[in-house]
Assembly symmetry: D2
Homo-oligomer: 243 residues x 4
Amino acid sequence: MTLRVTVWNENVHETTEPEIMPHYPEGIHGALASGLRELLGDGVAVTTATLDEPEHGLTDAVLASTDVLVWWGHLAHDRVSDEVVDRVQRQVLGGMGLVVLHSGHFSKIFTRLMGTTCSLRWRDDGDRELVYTVAPHHPITAGVPHPIVIPAHETYGEFFDIPAPDELVFVSGFSGGEVFRSGAAYRRGNGRVFYFSPGDQKYPVYTQPEIRRVIANACEWARRVGDSVPFAAKVEKGWMLRP
Amino acid sequence: MTLRVTVWNENVHETTEPEIMPHYPEGIHGALASGLRELLGDGVAVTTATLDEPEHGLTDAVLASTDVLVWWGHLAHDRVSDEVVDRVQRQVLGGMGLVVLHSGHFSKIFTRLMGTTCSLRWRDDGDRELVYTVAPHHPITAGVPHPIVIPAHETYGEFFDIPAPDELVFVSGFSGGEVFRSGAAYRRGNGRVFYFSPGDQKYPVYTQPEIRRVIANACEWARRVGDSVPFAAKVEKGWMLRP
Amino acid sequence: MTLRVTVWNENVHETTEPEIMPHYPEGIHGALASGLRELLGDGVAVTTATLDEPEHGLTDAVLASTDVLVWWGHLAHDRVSDEVVDRVQRQVLGGMGLVVLHSGHFSKIFTRLMGTTCSLRWRDDGDRELVYTVAPHHPITAGVPHPIVIPAHETYGEFFDIPAPDELVFVSGFSGGEVFRSGAAYRRGNGRVFYFSPGDQKYPVYTQPEIRRVIANACEWARRVGDSVPFAAKVEKGWMLRP
Amino acid sequence: MTLRVTVWNENVHETTEPEIMPHYPEGIHGALASGLRELLGDGVAVTTATLDEPEHGLTDAVLASTDVLVWWGHLAHDRVSDEVVDRVQRQVLGGMGLVVLHSGHFSKIFTRLMGTTCSLRWRDDGDRELVYTVAPHHPITAGVPHPIVIPAHETYGEFFDIPAPDELVFVSGFSGGEVFRSGAAYRRGNGRVFYFSPGDQKYPVYTQPEIRRVIANACEWARRVGDSVPFAAKVEKGWMLRP
């Protein structure tokens, strides 16, 4: 069955400082969408949505027909309306997958699902990042080299203030000495959440085949499994024994 | 070192429908405080705070000198101000312990730290609850019988929409057939959180010695370990190698 | 791709005390195989193996062409040769799935993969067992009622001495008051292991459609993901940067 | 209460190739014992045991009066008798703590408790190792700098074939680019197990104050909590309701 992915991007770097990301002529969302289409082909239907669209492009109708939402944000987390965040959270708890990328660690939706600050240490010196698999059985790692070599990237370092992942999938090391839990899988309600820390707007990380592979795998892994948010229910004694 | 515990209670049942809880003449907070003093003696300094106090009794000063906050709420979750919830969350992430009891599963602070609905199934037929230890190595279970027998109680049943606990400590079974993950330990930021589902306002659960033991153990386990919320930091290359 | 399942059964009750299990005229392995064929149809190729076959029917060749091994044993754990257990363990670590049923909790292969005693409390009074889902997002729960009602069954109770599951999927409650972590998922090496506690030889549990559904789901979930046991390797500095 | 620690060392490098470890004139066990005494003072009673003693110095009596066993082995894992390994495993499951160091990842006792190969990648080029805390709330990290800088050390790299830790405490990065889950906490039966990957016999790691701090903290964390191995028990219906 076709996997319906919506790639969301704040699209602010692209529209306000396009000179810093010449490698993403179609925007980060465009590059992510291309990667998914390239790897998943007919198995995927990708659409994109951005901050400046009405309701940020994430209406009830869009979300209801989304199996996996991919999220990229950085400068404009605060401009995402709480109403849309509520809506996305409910969709995740109801079974929609969510793949949060890079600076999305500080997005409203990710911090809300985690309950922690999601803060980290960072610097940008173009370090080489090596992304190691620590869960080789995990479907997100299928076909992924050990390690992935990202020639130059922004550095994210520990301590990364997240709940202990349900499954820690990747750990990165940077040439300047930092380490980072770069791939972390969670289940929340009926939904699945994957955080993956590559790639910064300044580096062409989302054109790299191995990174595209991880994100495509993550979308398949996080595929929607239902559309019902867990709810409180008063029951009658013996309810479970009645037909 | 003295463990400083603040017991917070919304104190609404007690003040609006006292006839339903004759077993708690000093309020639920009073009973919880008595239990802690009884078991921890000189090792603990217990204070209480309630919804109707200014800032719900949870000022910055109170929280800064609290090692563990015990939380009981039911009817008035919505009346807890978001500002106080922000404050409590930051204290937990900075290292304060939090012990959430019973209907506190739906409190703002617990759902915020969990990121899920924390919904469950319930009914009130005075079932017998058996609280089994599934983590006998855990300090919260020290001196606790296997199982604890609660002669009559409200029933909570699965599915309980929480993240998979970092440590599942207790599982309860009810005479009507439900099961429930009744003791769940989490770490968030630098702090520790323990959810324990006994006891409802209608039943004298907090006067039961075994239940008091669990809550005293939980307070000791959740003891504050710091007072610094994890924060984002831009670093310089090689920071970790400098004295 | 066809899922290749090998159902292993010690086949001792069937051959020595057939009167106690008239509901399994083809043996427990026969019933399990029928259930898998019924639910997975052309998607599965099921074979069976038993203790009395040479090498217990689990030769290198058989295991190498097995995606998932289903294990049922009870009276004869000690008669399983250590050499075969070594072989099965290596296959699991290399990526073969393993589904351990009921009294298999005490099998050599399960205790070896767990590292604990895997002991539990039990009694046989024909209690009703209710199997509740505590991980509704998990693929093993797809299409499974909440709870499954097993009208009469042997009782298994906590404490069950297993490592904390990587994913706790089911918790059972028994009419006599016990609770039990009845569905527990693990990853070991490249392989996946699922323990599911229903069903005893005296009760026709493996003819019950909901139970068959769980086992079929578990086989799909545990599908082999590789055939390479993790191994120690001395590397050269910079190995990860060379093509 | 005094913490009773037994430091076990195979003591083979020391007795067969003493020239390679001039920094450990009293043996690795001697250095570890000194570190514990230095940091825990009157709170600890440390004894040592080595491979060549009768029963490797780990008699029933010694283990029964040991709260935490620290394990260092490398060349002689195979010379440890299975009977002693059985005994140590039972003590751990009964509540004794176990702290496994460095090349002990391949010891019989550790692989048996893990159920996996515990294999890893390694090289010895004197890399700088940085040991980062990823669980700042964990008592093992109390007073430990972030990161610990080990100026020169053997390199251990992923994939490390262990079960997902119950708590991942440290992640190391090496100057040559590897990363490694260097501090991993487990619970098995009633006991606690901590694996910590520093330090190789060629480097004076166990004289480094920060490393000594981690090991002392680990011993305190793993303190014995009982002396009863979980066991199978047939029960009578209603056992839990009888006084």
